[in-house]
């Protein structure tokens, strides 16, 4: 199955200090990147409640990105470590729900890394495009049939 005409919907939770600023830099530096990422600003990647990710998938997201400061660089000292722990746990939960763990990404993007943000967006979009749309309910039904 090819998904050439499929435009994935991606949600990005970006911390305001590093990744959101990095995304801003990508913009001010006029870097082109896939327009599929819809950004929600949070103060810290540690603010990302697992519910937000589940809600995003429920609302129709094909992939969710959490992006924060590099380890050791957190503006709030250790919020990104909390995000890292939650990402690991939530990935396991998502698999149980039939959501491939590749659809849920964690990336470190600093305020200076506009280029990295561009790269992450493009790569993630391509990856999800290849995987195809998230078929949440369908997947569950198929399992039920089997």
């Amino acid at each position: 199955m090819t998904h050439e005409n499929f435009e994935p919907k991606l949600v990005g939770f970006l911390c305001t200090w590093c990744s959101y600023t990095g995304a801003d830099l990508a913009g001010t530096a006029r870097m082109d990147y896939a327009p599929n990422m819809r950004v929600i600003r949070v103060m810290c990647s540690g603010r990302v409640d697992p519910q937000f990710v589940l809600k995003a998938f429920k609302e129709g997201a094909d992939g969710v990105l959490i992006s924060g400061c590099h380890p050791g660089d957190c503006h709030y000292q250790e919020g990104n470590y909390k995000a890292l722990r939650r990402h690991r746990l939530l990935s396991k939960l998502l698999e149980q729900l039939g959501i491939e763990k590749e659809r849920f990404r964690l990336e470190w993007v600093s305020a200076a890394e506009g280029a990295k943000f561009q790269k992450v967006c493009n790569e993630f979009t391509e990856e999800i495009r290849n995987m195809g749309p998230l078929n949440l309910n369908g997947g569950i039904h198929e399992q039920a049939k089997a």
């Binding site: 001010t28 810290c44 603010r47 519910q51 995003a56 000292q77």
Partner: protein, 584 residues
Amino acid sequence: MVKLTIDGKKVEVEEGTTILQAAEKLEIPIPTLCYHPLLEPYAACRVCMVELKGETCKLVPSCNTKVAEGMEIETKSERAVKARKLNLELIMARAPAAEKVQELAKEMGIEKTRFEIIDPDEKCILCGLCVRTCEEIVGANAISFANRGKDRMVFTPYGEPSEACIGCTACAFFCPTEAITFEDIHKRLVVHEEMELGPSTAVRVPIRQAVPMVPFIDEDSCIHFKTGECKICERVCEKEAINHEMEDEEIEVEVGSIILASGFKSFDASRIPAYGYGRYENVITALEFEKLVNASGPTSGKILMTNGNEPQAVGIVHCVGSRDKKYNEYCSRVCCMYSLKFAHLLKEKTNAEVYDFYIDMRCFGKGYEEFYHRLMKEGTNFIRGRVSEVTDMPLTEKEEGKLIIRVEDTLLGEIRRIPVDMVILATGLEPGIDQNEIAKVFNISCSQDSFFLERHPKLAPVSTFSDGIFLAGACQSPKDIPDTVAQAGAAASQALALADKGTFELEPITAVINEELCAGCQLCVSLCPFTAINYNAEKGISEINDALCKGCGTCVSACPSGASQQKHFRDEQIFAEIEGIFIE
């Protein structure tokens, strides 16, 4: 106080003063050789003889005879002068090569010594200044007198290079007749590493433009920190400003805001081997040229090569370590202008032909472009192209003994070889050595080139992501002096604005706990990195201190009951955002 008369003049001096010091007060000259005000009197040379009148009526050396009440002294009496002449003649016979002795003899009217000269090349007059210096001032005791009578001499133990010698050269400095010369066989000379660009002493002002303009003591070079003695500077400083016991101390100061101005590091030119820095003597960096051309520098501002000659042709290489993907991709911003200044100084101070190798001439500031045009009129040769190599391998006779700069002249479209005598490398600016550690301490970030990252490149170029921490100067990006001054002024005024206000506005994004929902599980207490959450045991709930809460929201996303919410980032708000972004 003691009253006495010298040459008929009455004088009152403190008890314990010597006759020589009393005469000095009256400005009566008495010749000396072995006397030094910083050392105990020794009375070895005895050319300071004076006549004591009165009952005793005898000749005494003035340097070590203490004054007494009612003393009458003649410094120019026939007896005293005759004695001095005799003693000086004896010294002349001992050390005929000593210039200072010959001068003194001339002053006294002695043409020739009547005594037998043993060694016509001898300079040492056995005054003991060196031995006393080494013992009393330096405290090293490396040299001493050996033998007696006519065989007496200054000697090291067993005549071997002395292990006790710290190489301070103080003995040579105190020697009145230049009888001591130095050879640094153990490489122990107490000199600063900047020696190559001119000598420096242990007590010195770092640079002429230093602020504050006060000297400091370099512990590595100071004799006191080697032997525990000396402290001459302390003795001669009338203001008693010197204290060797002072130690570095860590001071804790509570401040409201901090301005970071940690500066830059100059690019290490030896990282580009093709330019030959460190291999060819006359390839120097911009900072070295600055020192060379400085009026207080090693050559008093004369532009000289290492062989002491003026260069006939000088090449200035731009963008060394800048605008180069292999080293630093960015433009260091200041090099073009200082290179033009160098070219101008070279034209002003020498007759040298000046070649200026540039990629692009970036004359970005007020009056800069005009200065560039002035230099073109002055006859500087501007060659557009990056220098590929500096070599000393000649291909033609003209290149013999020269440094040859190989460059592609992109305006002529050909490779050129230009022979010069001196090459100045316009080294770029790099972030400070401990830039990343400083950034960690202040919880700020660095941009990709490791310069400190400002809050916003256009709207907040002075502040950082940490409130109350501001940036000034080259630690933020390479910049010249006017730009640095402007940024520093802005940083200072922002810091002052905070201080003047006296209050600080918090972002209204702190977390709050709904008392009715809180179950008192204390999960949030352990998560808060700022210890802003306290457990109120009485009420059985957690409470947030608004002043400490920075609004990260970590506690909010962990709260199992939804009691903790972050203002402006409430769960419902973010849910609504998520819903909103999927509306087509």
